[in-house]
């Protein structure tokens, strides 16, 4: 295998469009009148409400408690009255039971007690992360404390901070690094302490020279935290690709990063952990990039979780006439939605309004077996073959060809000249194949 420095095999270079928002400072969006809080914002179990209809809640107060190991509590982002608890549509595509809170004009809030960063014990950090309801930023939004709880048989030696932000358009991690480098690095050190590791690597793509410069300055006296500048390529920020590029370890199929002694966390997560410990603030804000040619004023925003997408779009000046697609998340992996009443969730990274020119949706034609999808698949799958197996309901064969390793990054379909709906078939195949596996 050819040794490639600081990158991985395959991948694509989509147009970045980061210039739309990269110079927009983080802006705090005013508190909305109403908040919609889905009780399940991640993989795992739904949280149980601890309040009733018509209760008064304070900003930062826990309103739903976790059930089981993989579950996270939910806190009210605003002070107000509980209006209702009912099912509403969410950006992940399924309706979820949610708490609806009506805001009151009040500056009251109820955070946790700030902890002393110098005297804090690793267990205290994990406990606070759990209490603050911090979840990961990946598609599964795994509760972060689970990743911070060490397992005896799997020692961790390295923490990797994912600052790649390889999805086009998104610039929130970039803005956090530019505007809050000290908080971000302190958060990183807290994660290191919780994990008991003395080595951290911040992986960042080489298309962000200003952020790299700032990090270099702040890391001058931090020998334990190394900055690794990686080549700009999608999906550099995918966990397995990032680990390979940064420490040259390959996570085997079906295994997790901790199987190779690594934990990966995001920039936003490091910042949230900092806030949870130094300020005692639970995860009630989402930092999102609102971008795309279809939005009048693209911005980087700090919004309350539960704010509807419509309100965010209104705040950014509304959408243009030629907008045709609304995406929650990045353009490569995000979900297209149609209901503007869906709320911003904990793991929401961006809201994109795309026009025809950006979507570039070409006619779907027959697969011409050009092999472009095979060439760019970072996991070395054969997307065209898997898609065809799924089309013929041959899920077992698809399973044998490794369909479960697909991370749905969309690289194959982006590069497909015939615009075959590869990701659609792969997603469907994974669900069907999983049922076979279980049965």
């Amino acid at each position: 295998m050819i040794f490639r420095k600081n990158t991985f095999k395959g991948g694509v270079h989509p147009t970045e469009f980061k210039e739309l928002t990269e110079n927009q400072p983080l802006e705090i969006m005013p508190t909305p009148k109403e908040i919609f809080l889905p009780l399940q914002q991640h993989l795992g179990k739904e949280a149980t409400p601890t309040i009733k209809k018509k209760d008064k809640v304070l900003a930062g107060q826990m309103v739903a408690e976790p059930v089981g190991f993989i579950s996270a509590p939910i806190h009210s982002p605003i002070t107000g009255i509980v209006k209702d608890i009912k099912s509403i549509p969410t950006p992940i595509g399924f309706p979820r039971k949610s708490i609806i809170i009506e805001a009151e004009s009040s500056n009251e809030f109820q955070y946790y007690e700030p902890l002393n960063i110098d005297k804090i014990a690793p267990e205290q950090i994990v406990e606070r992360v759990k209490l603050a309801g911090i979840v990961g930023m990946g598609g599964a939004s795994f509760p972060t404390y689970v990743k911070l709880t060490p397992q005896k048989d799997k020692p961790i030696d390295t923490l990797i901070i994912n600052a790649c932000e390889c999805e086009p358009y998104l610039t929130r991690d970039y803005r956090i690094i530019l505007e809050r480098p000290i908080q971000f690095i302190l958060g990183t050190k807290l994660i290191m302490k919780a994990l008991g590791v003395n080595k951290a690597i911040i992986g960042i793509e080489d298309n962000k020279p200003e952020a790299i410069e700032i990090l270099r300055q702040h890391l001058a006296n931090e020998p334990e935290i190394k900055l690794e500048v990686l080549r700009t390529k999608y999906p550099q920020g995918a966990e397995k690709m990032l680990i390979f590029a940064a420490v040259k370890r390959q996570v085997p199929p079906g295994k997790l990063p901790l199987d190779v002694g690594v934990v990966v966390q995001n920039v936003v997560t490091a910042l949230s952990i900092y806030e949870a410990i130094i300020e005692g603030k639970p995860q009630i804000d989402a930092i999102i990039t609102v971008s795309g040619k279809g939005i009048k004023n693209p911005k980087n925003l700090i919004v309350k979780i539960g704010t509807t997408i419509q309100e965010v779009l209104d705040y950014c000046g509304g959408i243009t006439n030629d907008a045709i697609k609304l995406v929650v998340g990045g353009p490569m992996m995000g979900n297209a939605i149609y209901d503007l009443k869906t709320p911003v969730m904990k793991a929401t990274s961006g809201i994109l309004v795309l026009t025809q020119a950006e979507v570039n949706e070409i006619k779907e034609r027959n697969c011409v077996r050009c092999g472009n999808c095979v060439e760019v698949c970072p996991i070395n799958l054969q997307p065209t073959k898997l898609a065809r197996l799924v089309q013929f309901s041959r899920y077992e064969d698809a399973l044998n060809m490794g369909i479960m390793n697909c991370m749905e990054c969309g690289t194959c379909q982006y590069n497909c000249p015939s615009n075959v709906s590869l990701v659609h078939w792969l997603k469907l195949g994974k669900i069907k194949a999983k049922n076979i596996q279980v049965a």
Binding site: A336, N360, R365, P417
Partner: protein, 323 residues
Amino acid sequence: MEQTKFLELQEKRLKLGSSPHIKSAFSTQKAMIYVILALVPCIISSIIFFGFYQIVIILTSVVFAVLTEFVIKKLRKQNLSIDDGSAALTGLLLALILPPNYPLVSTALGSIFAIAIGKEVFGGLGYNIFNPALIGRAFLQASFPVETTTWVKPNLAVDTITSATPLAQFKFERIVTDLPNLFYGNISGSLGETSALAILIGGLFLIFTKVANWQIPVSMIIGLIVFEGILWIINPNEFASPLFHLFSGGFMFGAFFMATDWVTSPLTSKGMWIYGLSISLLIVLIRNFGGLPEGVMYAILLMNAVTPLINRYTVPKIFGETK
């Protein structure tokens, strides 16, 4: 409030769909147009060496290819797909591998056969096993053996050049054509196949625009030079030099335009190397030990049949897999 109403209107025409929501600018249609563009130097060389009449052959072939696809799609009540350009391309490719001044009726028949039997019976673009243009050519070779092996002298011919192709001359008369004429294409042969220079211009354009992969042409050229080189070193009197073989017959055209066909070539880089080297081996065997002077067409068709097998044995190792 006005804005809200406006947004509600927007909601009604927002598109849904699975990720990814952006798409590279590359498309099958564009690729076909690029290949047709890359064939322009070959069309020009055919006119220079064999006269303007060749344009009529090319047009006949293209028109009948497109018409055949149109009629079949209509008969089978399928969506029309002639806008993808693949039928026109097949017609063009077929014309360029026919002898100059080829009868128009046979040209049309070959074109119809290429699309109908070479492509549409398998289900259309992407499903065919064999390269449709080569299927058309093989059909003509079998049906009209005399016409399909009747060659004419190139226009710029000097006395030493006869109407026999360099490969036939070598095989049956032991006459070696000089390299410059072979390279520029001032020799007798099929319309677009004679000029290695024109083919290289178009072929390199395809490789730099990433429409064609580089592995197949490179592996074919390396294979031919190595295999022919071995024979040549063993007995230079009996076998011609590798460079002679490289620039004669349909080798260059086959390497850049026929073997690189997406549909009928392997998926992975490793598979492409196996495919390219095997084609060259077959060409060397047919040219030197077979009854025919030329073997590019049959070599590629044979390897087309083996492609699924190559794909099966060159499945890439999944990331992180240790086996």
